[in-house]
Symmetry: C2
Subunit: 236 residues, 2 copies
């Protein structure tokens, strides 16, 4: 059995914030920007930065998983995305963080001071282009998620999440139907706009229907992988 951590780190870099796998800065630029990069290491559950605090740094995940979220005054939380290695965290153009980020697993990241990062970015058209392309992909994903949050049922949300998440972290071949779920039920619920109880019940239901099996590290998809999970209403 492959541990979640291992499964995650094995995956080929599918970073949403890399322009198709190309590094944002290359060669000289990378070493130039490297001058002011610092490596940091955070334990699971650590907060990397907090919504509405001054945004002084941009981070790039090198290992581990983190979640981006926003909260209301009374504590209600909406996870707006999960970050995987390669993804950038922070708001280069804003003095203030637009969201919070927590480490889900232990996390390693490169830290760039925002000022110098921005300067380098603006001085490198190819980096600018990569970043624009990456942010454009992010916004597509955000809009997909809006559709899900606003118009799907609990079960559709959950199934859609499993499918999308598997596509993002999954490997091909023999293990494709093992979906690691390193985040807690609360994280899943807060991502889908549900409660943990509902998520738990959905899991039980899908297990009763022999669609998935719940294992400690995540889920095992049963049967002809593609068919039963696909929510035919989604994705026209």
């Amino acid at each position: 059995m492959v541990g979640v951590q291992e499964a995650i780190s094995f995956r080929e870099s599918a970073s949403a914030l890399f322009g198709g796998g190309k590094p944002l800065f290359s060669g000289d630029e990378r070493s130039e920007i490297g001058h002011f990069a610092r490596r940091i290491n955070l334990p699971a559950k650590a907060t990397i930065f907090n919504e509405s605090e001054p945004c002084v740094a941009i981070y790039q995940l090198t290992s581990g998983i983190a979640c981006l979220y926003k909260t209301l005054a009374d504590g209600r939380r909406q996870i707006v995305g999960f970050a995987l290695p390669g993804d950038f965290l922070g708001s280069p153009f804003s003095d203030q963080c637009a969201y919070s980020v927590d480490a889900i697993s232990e996390v390693m990241a490169s830290l760039f001071l925002r000022g110098p990062f921005l300067t380098s970015l603006l001085a490198n058209p190819s980096a600018l282009r990569s970043m624009l392309e990456a942010v454009s992909k992010e916004i597509d994903a955000a809009r997909d998620h809006m559709l899900m949050l606003g118009r799907c049922t609990a079960e559709e949300k959950f199934v859609e999440f499993i499918i999308t998440w598997r596509a993002r972290v999954g490997r091909r071949g023999a293990l494709a139907n093992l979906v690691p779920l390193p985040m807690s039920r609360r994280d899943v619920a807060d991502f889908l706009g549900l409660t943990i109880e509902t998520v738990s019940r959905l899991l039980a239901k899908l297990e009763r229907e022999n669609v998935v099996r719940v294992i400690p590290e995540g889920l095992q998809l049963m049967g002809p992988t593609e068919r039963p999970l696909l929510c035919e209403r989604c994705h026209n």
Copy 2:
């Protein structure tokens, strides 16, 4: 009484897709890009382009209002944003449209073929930068909306919408408490992830509580404008 159309066109360019009001292309670049720009004019309710059709053009609204939306196979629709004059429509980096756009009012727009548009964009670092900044703002708005869709009650969603919409289209001074609502109830509902009936009931409730008055062109906010509408739970 000011008509909606008039109110909208009077507003100072608050385009979310302009970098703080700076035009994306300036001077020579603008005239260069102007070579392949075409002006188009569409009646209300016209579809400008459709999700998943090939993306051949980028549009920039010059007047009117449009809505961006995604749909599920069975017709459920989620509006992911409204576009105002200045906003760009289309996916420069993608061969395929990521969403549909309908004109809400009569609309005028500049049309750029995607290829040449992209070429010009990539050749102009300052335009790239503006675009990146604009898309970054878009994604912030998208995440705010996710929080709303996933974690707010119907009333909170609606109030939040009125406040945000007023900030976007509203003028200051005497008319600040007149909020034009050029879109239909269905559009509002599809933006908030609700049904038209619920939106209608919320309006009735807020009117009963003397918070707003429903007028043909939109809403009149009653009382000390800021206080009663503000949903204290949102925006910590």
